[in-house]
Symmetry: C3
Subunit: 311 residues, 3 copies
């Protein structure tokens, strides 16, 4: 695992190794276990072609807790402007002896492209590429589920919202399938379901209530408000009436169900404040675990690069 | 002292503890005593809703000298834009196991609001909130006075300029009162005096010369040029003629008087270059001491959070 | 060598000391030798009045590999905006006990001006000032030449392109002269040759082919596209036809010649992709060596400041 680009292509063993490694960084409670020297002397570059303060911050914190040096490159204002090609930028950065790129890009496949072209010795971690994948988000979700519910087999997981445009959902479904979860339900407006959704290894429910019935895990996706303008949705109010997670709807799920959301949440659009802040919400624990999971991915890929280089 | 939000509410003992702690960071001369490991493994977040390179830099330097990791969040471009509420942003950041927020905000009371909502275990330091308070600036001023003049009792302090809009002046007056200074004089244009100024524990002098007579400490406030547009002032030239600190006016103060200014200075507007660069100016020493004082505030609040958490 | 402002004014011994020191940071291959504690506890400030992600990154990486703390100040949005003079900004930064300024500025002489005014104890390194100098770039070029070709005497060096506007070329010619290279050839459009070029210690060739004949080192300068608008050049295509480095033209040079470029490269404008990516290109090694050379310049100037202060 020299790069971490998408869940697709990984084995169940890969995912379990990431989760187990993250466990060692997550501490006893929800707080991190403090600073470790695993990446001392290494340089991690945040290569963000798309602004995302939240995601950049979690990677920056994870890298610093591993004792790495961090270089933030806002690619809007960088050498790209001077007419340099992306490949030349990568080669230059690599020549500077950096050890890892954290890549966020608006185009699907960008992280793969970079990994193919960056050359040996530099790990690439996908921090979200277009509508394609957001695999560290999916892994922190798996970590949260494992912490709260132990076993993936026999689990009933409902994912609610804009499946079509969600790189998060795509990565979650792939990870759940690998980990043995067989009952995955997708629910949301018809217009926000991807074509060929059945091949993903999940069942589609047009009524949210049917999808929620007896679920152990309810994952609410963020509603991108820009979808409104695309005509995919009539209005936020209408969306909330049909797909907002209220206490009444949550009562349909298993009594011990947990509620997850990748954040940032739109209160009163995809989730009610009562549920978001309620006893079954693990939304903030997801954020906490996100640091540990990113530390795991970063240390595993760097290790793989080093042992690969040694050969 | 789990947070550091304003001088109001603190005791004389609190202020003296900060000054004594800063003394340990300030070194023998004016240079800092080097790096200390007090905040190693801690994460300090600069949460700036209002740009201020100078203030951010001093906090960043202070944090790094305490061996903390620093995360700079420019809140104009952060999650706020995605429609997330401030409280949700805070909860998320807290979930990432950060240890301190340095808050700069254009609204009075913003730091208090954040401290109330951030939850246990995270210290909040006010780096300036609207017209309300700028307490680390006031403390570095107190530190400078104590280094130069020893005793606060019996001291005659003149504060000159735009008292009405100055969070710095408000914090200075509160600190001086707590430390036992009884002779505090405020001078500046009538239009720039706050309503009810007498209740602040200071006397008002409309003629600058009367306010300066025999003063031991002369604090010049920065004239915010945007006040001109508000009709508070006729012109910079007129302001300088009546309230600019010239050598002639400084001669009215005590022969050993020190001249202070929070910076950045407007030469020829509120102070002459001769005075700003003269032997009695301690303006640059204030900057140097500012690092030590901020190191003191940061280490004391983090300590208080840790001992609070242990209970 | 308390500052590093330009090649002019330095002795051959200075340059050799920098190259030898860089050698200790460059490792056996082209990769850096890892982190060293030489600047632990020191603060390096990137004072960039002109955006340059690439140059800022190399200095930031070099500083961090020396274990320094780095403060990035984008001077467009800094105190300058508040009407503070540059000298006041410098004095303030110096009062904060910073140890080094890396200065990038659009005006020739800016780094010198800052070095003259910054006061004792703070080193200034020129990271490019207008059309004047870019001395760390020249030194990394010298380092690359020494690694690849050993001896500077007897070397035939061709510099191709916009000599007139190139601070890089000016610094390269000065360094080559100091190190004993006597055969320096400049070639490029007449309109892009500086007035009085003969006094620089180099010969001018209007036909690129004549300049390349038998050369051991071919340095291609970056064509600033903004020059087109200034009427200095007819078109990129025309430029490439007359001065682009193609395989055919490179065949005129010595069979063991190396090809250098300060980057970022414009493929198909000043150099063909075949040559840029070919066996004789050392362009990416230049980037790698740039970190080691900047580490050398930073550690030497800080050492000189410390021993100067001790006297």
């Amino acid at each position: 695992m020299r790069h971490f680009l998408s869940i697709a292509g990984l084995s169940r063993e890969h995912l379990v190794e990431i989760l187990d490694t993250a466990e060692s960084f997550a501490g006893a409670g929800d707080r991190a276990a403090g600073k470790v020297p695993l990446l001392r002397g290494k340089t991690v570059v945040n290569l963000f072609f798309e602004a995302s303060t939240r995601t950049r911050s979690t990677f920056e914190l994870a890298a610093k807790r591993l004792s790495a040096d961090v270089l933030n490159l806002d690619m809007d204002t960088a050498a790209v402007q001077k007419g340099e090609s992306l490949i030349d930028t990568l080669r230059n950065m690599r020549a500077m002896d950096v050890d890892m790129f954290i890549v966020r890009h608006g185009d699907s496949g960008a992280a793969q492209f970079i990994a193919r072209n960056v050359g040996a010795g530099v790990a690439v971690v996908n921090a979200g590429d277009g509508g394609h994948a957001h695999p560290t988000q999916a892994m922190l979700d798996m970590f949260t589920i494992r912490r709260c519910r132990k076993d993936f087999e026999g689990l009933r997981v409902a994912i609610v919202g804009d499946i079509r445009h969600s790189r998060v959902a795509r990565s979650q479904i792939a990870a759940l399938n690998l980990l043995g979860t067989r009952d995955i339900r997708l629910t949301g407006p018809q217009t926000l379901m991807p074509a060929g959704v059945e091949q993903l290894g999940a069942r589609v429910f047009s009524r949210m209530e049917d999808g929620l019935a007896g679920a152990d895990v309810v994952i609410i996706l963020r509603l991108q408000r820009e979808r409104m303008r695309g005509g995919f949705l009539p209005s936020e109010g209408e969306y909330y009436r049909r797909y907002g997670l209220t206490s009444a709807r949550l009562a349909l799920a298993d009594p011990a169900a947990i509620v997850m959301h990748p954040g940032p949440i739109n209160r009163g659009v995809e989730i009610s404040s009562l549920v978001a802040d309620g006893a079954r919400s693990v939304i903030l624990r997801q954020v906490a675990f996100g640091i540990a999971v990113r530390m795991a991915v970063m240390s595993l890929t760097v290790s793989a690069q080093i042992s690969g280089r040694a050969k």
